[in-house]
Every structure is written in C-alpha cells, then in structure tokens.
C-alpha cells in the first residue's frame, strides 16, 4: 500500500506534537513579524536619527527628539492625554458595571442585550463620530433642545472641548468595558452571593465583599482595553477636540504629516509606548502581589 503525502504528513505530526504547535503558530507569527515587529524596529531607529531635509530621516544618532518631548508644550499635551484617558476609563467603568451586571442577570434577554451592546460596531467609527458632531455643534440637537426648553439662551460651546473628546471616547470604548465585566459577572457562582447573605451580608456588603472582588479580573481587562487605545486615540480628538484639545495621537500624526518631523513623531510614539508599558507592568505586579496574599 502506497502512503499518500497526506498520510505521511499526518504521521509526521503524530510523531512530533511540538511541530504541530509550531505549524499552527507560524502564519500568525509571520504576520506579526512583518507588520508589527519590523515597523517597530524601524520606528525605534527613526526616533534616534536626524530629521531629513524635507521629510523622512537623515543618518546619525541623537537623543534630541526625546529631549524635545520634555518641553512644557509637549508635556502639557502628554498630561492632557493621560487625564483624558484616565477619565475615559473611569467613566466607562462607572457606566459599564451596572449594565454588565444587569445583562449577566437578564436570563433569556441576555443575548439580545449583548447584541445591542455590539450593534454600534456595525457602523464605521468615523460615521458615529460625525454623528456626535451633529449632536454637539452650535445648532445641533443638544443645543436646540436646551434652548427650546429655555434652559439656555445662546448655543453652548460643546464641540471642540475636552468634554466633547471625553464624550466621544467614552461612547466609542464602552463596549470594550461592558463585555469583559459581563464575562466575569456571568461566571460568578450565584451561590456565593446567597452564602454571603445567609452569613449576614446586606446588599451593599454582598457587592463590596463578594461580587466586586470576584469581578475584578473583568474590570482590569476592561480598563486596559479602554485605557490603552484612549492614550493613543487620534481620530476622536481630531474631529471633536479640534486644535485646542490635541492629544499625543494627534501630535504623532502631525509630526508624520504636516510637520514632516518623522524622528520626533517616532520619539513621541515610543515615549507613549514606554508609559503604557510601565503602567502595565506596575498593574501586573500589583495583581500578582494580591494573588499571592
């Protein structure tokens, strides 16, 4: 009996289980190498090279772009970016937790509610952001409602403010907070809540001592999923924040675009990435310390 190539292939992998794992990993790894690792190295190299005359980079080594980032002008942008990202995360958390809690307890409505949570993804984020502009602009829905009710006499300046950016970011990232918290609450064994109640815990104590601690992994995952993209956001602050509410993402885009200072743009990117990494490591340390306690 002749062995077909298919058979020989299967026999090969049966003898070497590790080879099978590598075969499964390779396509993804190649993809990441080509489109993530290589550009990252290129970007790192750019960030320590000289600026090209018109665009791009010129040979040489310098740390001037990192030093330049310490200018108060840019630090102010970094600071604004940080607080907007933190506020976005906090607001998303406060808004999402009750929603996730209700969905996790919603029985047969659960799937419909989950569907509604992810429904906005069916439209382009750009279109949804323009819709917010329509809501917030001078003659927009919010202002005409407020004036119609006689609460204000002139249109409020809502658009092109940090508040508008915050509103847009919170709206955009809400599902990323709801879903992981939902997942951890849905897994929560309800007997634990009942057990706490028999042991004397009133509603708030049950939440604080049982439900919340056991949903913390979901809270942490959701917070990361919101905080990290908020730090790097550029579309939302660009459309809703205007020039006054520039975030680091806009600065980077600006340097690679109109300002044509690629090395500085690369340095800002890496500074941002460094901050994210430090934050992430700190969080992991705290989490492991808690798990060990």
């Amino acid at each position: 009996m002749s062995s077909s190539p298919r058979r020989r292939l299967l026999a090969y992998f049966a003898r070497r289980p590790a080879a099978g794992s590598w075969a499964l990993l390779t396509p993804g790894l190649l993809w990441l190498a080509a489109f993530f690792a290589v550009p990252l190295v290129v970007l790192l190299a750019y960030s320590v090279m000289h600026r090209g005359t018109y665009w791009g980079v010129a040979p040489g080594f310098t740390l001037e772009h990192y030093r330049r980032f310490l200018d108060p002008l840019y630090l102010a942008i970094a600071w604004r970016t940080l607080w907007i990202a933190l506020a976005t995360t906090g607001l998303c958390l406060v808004l999402s937790y009750p929603v996730a809690y209700v969905i996790a307890r919603a029985g047969r409505w659960r799937n419909i509610l989950l569907f509604l949570v992810i429904l906005p993804f069916w439209t382009s984020f750009l279109i949804r952001t323009y819709a917010i502009i329509v809501l917030l602009r001078g003659g927009g829905v919010v202002n005409s409602t407020l004036m119609g009710l006689g609460l204000t006499s002139a249109p409020l300046e809502l658009l092109y403010t940090p508040g508008a950016v915050l509103a847009g970011l919170v709206y955009g990232y809400l599902p990323f907070m709801v879903l992981p918290i939902y997942a951890s609450l849905e897994r929560l064994d309800l007997d634990l809540v009942d057990a706490a109640e028999v042991l004397g815990a009133r509603a708030f104590a049950r939440f604080r001592r049982v439900i919340l601690p056991l949903s913390l992994p979901g809270v942490a995952a959701g917070s990361l999923l919101v905080f990290i993209p908020s730090l790097g956001a550029f579309l939302t602050p660009d459309l809703l924040g205007g020039a006054k509410t520039m975030m680091l993402g806009n600065l980077v885009q600006n340097q690679f675009g109109p300002a044509r200072n690629w090395p500085f743009g690369a340095a800002v990117s890496f500074a941002l990435m460094g901050v994210v990494m430090v934050g992430l490591l700190a969080w992991l340390r705290v989490r492991d310390a808690e798990a060990a306690a």
Partner: protein, 374 residues
C-alpha cells in the same frame, strides 16, 4: 401550659416560577433538634422548599405561611432568620482564605475583632480541621471533603438555630460520604441544632434522619420516620422511590370477617391473594399493594406454608448483591418480581434456585402495604 411551637412549620406553602409550580401546598413541621430530611428525585421541589425556608425565595401571594419558632417569616431576609446553610457547591469564597471565609459571618454580625480568631479556631475544631494546617489555605488548595468541612464550619460558627444542608455530600466519593454522614449526625446530636437536609439519596436519608418528608412533583407525598416511610409507604411513588417494591394489583372481593387479613383480592389473571384491612379498600374496587423483596420467599410448587399468599412464576435471573441475593421471577402475567434472600455464602451454601426453575413466590398476607391511589 403552652406547648413550644415547632421550630419550622410550613403551612400549605406554594411557590410558582412563571407558569410552573415548584412547590405546591406543602405542609410539614420540624421539631427542635431534629434531623429532618427533604427527600425526592431531582425537580420534585425539595431545593425550592429549602430556599423558601432559607429566605431566598418568597411564597406566592396567598401561598401559605413559612414559620420559624412560631413566627411567620415569609418575607424576612435570610440574615433575619438565624439560619446557617451549607450549599451543594460549598460556595466558599474563592478569594478568601479558610479563616477569612469562616470569619466572614462573624464580621458581618459585628462580632468584636478580638473574639473572631478564637471562634474561627473553635469552628475548625468542630469539623476536625487543624487550624495550623488549614487556616491560611485558599479553597482551591483543599480537597472536596476539606471544602465541605470548611463550609460546615463557616455555617456553624454563627451558632444558627437551624442548619440547612442542600445535598452537601453529593460531590464526595462513597467512602468520604459515609464518614461525613456519621459526622453530621454526631454534630446534630451534640450541638442540639436542628438540621434540615435535602437529598435525593434515599439510603442517605434513611441512615441519617429522625424524620423524612418524601417529595414528588412539587408536593409532600409522605412525612414520617425512616421506618414509617420504608415499612408503611402510603403511595406507589414512596414505595418505589425508597427501597424496592413489588406491586400487585387486583380487585377486592367481599370482606371476610374476624380475620387479620379479611380481604381477598383477585388479579387480572385470576390469581388470588389475601390483604389486611385498610380504610381505602372497598368491595369491587381496585387494590394495589406493595411488597418489599425481603418480605417475599420462594418455594417449590406445593411446598408453600398454609395461610401464605402464593403466586407461581419462573426464575429469570439471580443477582449477587453481597449481603443479599435477588432472585428475579417472571410471574404468570409476565411481570417481574424481585425476591431478596439472605446470602448464606454462595461458595459453601449456594442458593438452591437456578434460572428456569418453576417456583412459587409467597408472603404472609400481613406483610404488605396497601397503597393509596395517587
């Protein structure tokens, strides 16, 4: 003199979920210090009954009364009932150590900080776990039996008036289950605490309980001591669910007089047997009786002692069960009857029956239980 009320009393309690009634006009009462079991197959309403007692569920409007110590507690929260509960899943808090699990209730009851370590240690002692070894472990570092003990300690530390146990031994292997059965029974006796125990395991219920409420299809089928339930099952369900039962049907003839077993019942195939007096029997009406396998005996045709009921059959199977031998007999109407005979040692003193033997199944007329129609 006023009699002390039963510690737990259900008065025609009903509970519906949507259109389905999980508990339907259930009544029973539990005496102080008693080991009381709710026994039934899954879906019979026993867990809902326990949850009604715990306060996790509220009876339907006009769905009767749940009383604890004589007081109606229908809408009281669980923490207002002086109960403890052990869950089937143990429900230990996974993020807290053993000692923090046990201290949880003490903290919620505002027990002074200084008293807590001592009480936790005593609770661990009650369930025979060494504090030095176990206090700081997390639940996932414990075996099933140890988790069970911690769950018990966590409930006992608050010294509840009633301890509710929802199939607490279901997840343990047989050996450990037997051991825990004995320990629970001992705790019940030594602490003088009332235990209300939910189980679907009839053997467990018989072995541990002072009294049992057998539940079926959302209702209580029978309440009684293990002996009552086993030896005087009132319905076919109870007879079949607790132990094994052979059923015989027929039609009652004229009532005889003066005897212990005045009724003669004629089966569909013409066979006759005597039945003791029972208020449910009327001349001409159908009668159904249950006979336990160990109440039956086997004889060769013609060798049946006088006065015993005798029905012919053929040996179909012989089942070796250790303490007993079950002989399965095909009766003349085709139905199977199980006869339990003492195993006197099959190697030295084997049973005299073989498959295919023609035999007579016999029992004394008073050794049967007349069943109520369901």
């Amino acid at each position: 003199m006023t009699e002390t009320p039963p510690i737990v009393e259900f008065r025609r309690v009903s509970k519906s979920f949507g259109d389905s009634r999980a508990v339907d006009r259930v009544s029973f009462s539990v005496r102080r210090g008693e080991f009381f079991s709710l026994l039934g197959p899954s879906g019979c309403g026993k867990t809902t009954t326990l949850r009604l007692l715990a306060g996790f569920e509220t009876p339907d409007p006009d769905g009767g009364e749940v009383r604890i110590d004589g007081e109606v507690v229908n809408v009281r929260r669980p923490y207002e009932r002086r109960i403890g509960m052990v869950f089937q899943s143990y429900a230990l808090f996974p993020h807290l150590s053993v000692e923090r699990n046990i201290a949880f209730g003490l903290e919620e009851h505002r027990v002074p900080r200084t008293e807590i370590p001592g009480r936790v240690e005593r609770a661990l002692g009650l369930v025979r776990l060494a504090p030095a070894t176990f206090a700081r472990r997390r639940p996932h570092q414990l075996s099933g039996g140890q988790r069970q003990r911690v769950a018990l300690a966590r409930a006992l530390v608050l010294d509840p008036a009633i301890l509710l146990l929802d199939e607490p031994l279901g997840a343990l292997d047989l050996q450990l289950r037997k051991e825990m059965q004995l320990e629970l029974k001992t705790l019940n006796r030594e602490l003088g605490m009332t235990f209300v125990y939910v189980t679907h395991d009839q053997e467990e219920a018989l072995a541990m309980s002072d009294r049992i409420a057998v539940m079926s299809a959302a209702r209580v089928a029978q309440v009684g001591t293990p002996a009552d339930i086993y030896e005087n099952p009132r319905t076919e369900f109870v007879a079949g669910f607790i132990g094994e039962a052979n059923l015989f049907d027929g039609q009652a003839g004229k009532r005889g007089s003066g005897e212990a077993t005045p009724w003669t019942v004629t089966a569909a195939d013409g066979a006759r047997f005597g039945v003791p007096d029972h208020p449910g029997i009327q001349e001409g009406a159908g009668v159904r009786i249950a006979v336990r396998p160990e109440w039956l005996d086997l004889f060769e045709p013609g060798a049946v002692p006088a006065g015993e009921n005798a029905l012919p059959g053929t040996v179909r199977d012989i089942v070796y069960l250790g303490e007993t031998m079950h002989v399965v007999v095909t009766m003349s109407d085709g139905r199977l009857v199980r006869v339990a005979l003492r195993n006197e040692g099959q190697l030295l003193n084997p049973l005299r029956w073989r498959r295919g033997d023609t035999v007579v199944v016999a029992w004394r007329p008073e050794d049967c239980q007349v069943l109520d129609p369901e």
